[in-house]
Symmetry: C2
Subunit: 156 residues, 2 copies
Amino acid sequence: MHYLCTMKIENVIKQSSFSSSYHKVVVNLIFTGNWIRDEQMKVFKQFDLLPQHYNVLRIIKGHMPHPIAPKDIKEVLIDKAGDLTRLLDKLEKKGLVKRNLCPSNRRQMDISMTDKGLKILEQLQGPLQIFTDMIQNNLSKDQAENLSDLLDQLRG
Amino acid sequence: MHYLCTMKIENVIKQSSFSSSYHKVVVNLIFTGNWIRDEQMKVFKQFDLLPQHYNVLRIIKGHMPHPIAPKDIKEVLIDKAGDLTRLLDKLEKKGLVKRNLCPSNRRQMDISMTDKGLKILEQLQGPLQIFTDMIQNNLSKDQAENLSDLLDQLRG
DNA sequence: ATAATTTATTTGTTGCAACAAATATTGTTG
DNA sequence: CAACAATATTTGTTGCAACAAATAAATTAT
């Protein structure tokens, strides 16, 4: 079964006919969320990165040319980063970011991009674009807007 | 910021105006998927279970009164279970399932529910229903159908 | 100025997840 | 039936995630 993602959710989840449209939406959302996550993973994995690593790199880049402190990264980060320290450890070890003691506040660290980090972000642009393109092929602009609105409404 | 989930995605993700409706959908799907996952986690956590544990328990129950082998659980499981063994270890240690050697094929295990396992599934029904109800409050039946269709279409 | 409080980051610990390799049983073929 | 391949599960290893606790520096109050 290689093409699960292209099937209606009723056919993916074999046995059960859903008790309600609401139940179906829940299962479908979880399924689709996992699918997107897995698709993204494939891209990131080629660079030995995780989605969170990418998010953090984007945030650091977004602050350039100024360095940024971990506490400020945390504020912006979608998925809350419990141990940003060890995540930054890994990025530093891979040479993608630099850590310096902040001169004006010695309990704070200054995180900044390296050239290598910038280069990896560039290299990722293409593969990630392909992913958005794929969705663009399957939904019209109105449908995409509609979907986004329904998701907003569903949450609350 | 306690009410992220009730905000339009543009406001959740502070800085960026999205480059396209498609990009917005991607971010919104990931955000909504994580949100659902987190909400479910809260319920499961009260019983010291993970979502996967619940899925597996449901599958085993769905096969009653017959026992089921791990390989057959894997076939039905949505999220692929790399190490079902250790997941079943945990369920067994908590007394929710039993493991027996399959008499007709000694490299296979027979997994079956215990009374305690059945009881936990019953106890979970209420809390999980509340969750579906919440979505029902926010979307009409047509909207739920529409959302499910859009998700199916998006995947391909 | 000193003590208490808050802030920023790090460290420790535990459990889970992903991947490959190992073991044991069954099925197949010459 | 002996050798080889396939199947079903387990084990080993490594890295990440979640949570609490610890450290260290700055801020505030006494």
